[in-house]
Symmetry: none
Subunit: 126 residues, 2 copies
DNA sequence: CGCACCCTGACACGCGGCTGGTAAGGTTAG
DNA sequence: CTAACCTTACCAGCCGCGTGTCAGGGTGCG
């Protein structure tokens, strides 16, 4: 069995147990649990924790940023809305149709749907 | 000339002049300047500011998050690194449909999957 | 000319994220 | 049984974000 307890995982990855739980709470590295609820860190989780650390210092990003990036992946509509908003800044002409973009078809669909939602200016909510 | 000064733009978009400068500092909405340095808000900027506001409240994101999203668009290397990291284990735990499964079983399943990811997923700076 | 606006920079302040620590209780192994 | 772990939940200090405000100086227009 190549799984470590949270304390062991902490010492070998340079995080604190507290932060391991926090990182899990952010949804970034979730350790499987034993039958009684103990977190079990396997090689995959350890590797992920180390690369996470690497990411943070190499690019000077914060856990919260990664949490947001995660959210973008879990909420395509949000990602689409942002895509749309950012693209409205570029003076480039309507370059909507992508020639080679297989996996993002469904995403493009979402974007369109929500861009219309957003640009249909309704700010009367009070 | 359909440009507004920062104070006018503020009152018509619901931001404060202070926040307009802050938003610009984050790189989110940059207004062109007059010869003497005054910010000139045109229809495009005003629309962008309103949509930004809409984004923030509709999806409950923060300006800092948007700043990070902007950074992702300006630093493809960072975006790639995140892509890489997330793809090494991205599943949706809250959506796992299995009703009840012995802990040890799905634990083994997870670990197996992750080991495979690790051994085969040699990310050679893709 | 004067007033009202703009600029940048700086300080202030509340709130919430990050991180540690601790308490109360369950689990594992000797 | 005991000791050393683990769990969750809470409280506390630090710090940065969001925001207001002020100071010192420039601009535009009646």
């Amino acid at each position: 069995m190549t799984t470590l307890t949270i304390h062991e995982a902490a010492t070998t990855t340079g995080w604190s147990p507290r932060m391991l739980r926090y990182v899990e709470q952010l949804g970034l590295v979730e350790a499987p649990r034993s039958a009684s609820g103990y977190r079990l860190y396997g090689p995959a989780q350890l590797q992920r924790l180390r690369t996470l650390r690497e990411l943070l210092e190499r690019y000077d990003v914060e856990l919260g940023d990664l949490g947001f990036a995660l959210r973008l992946r879990r909420e395509p509509e949000l990602a689409g809305a942002l895509d749309d908003w950012f693209s409205s800044q570029l003076e480039a002409p309507p370059q909507r149709p992508e020639p080679e973009m297989p996996d993002s078809d469904w995403l493009a669909f979402e974007q369109d749907k929500h861009s219309q939602l957003l640009t249909s200016g309704r700010q009367d909510t009070a």
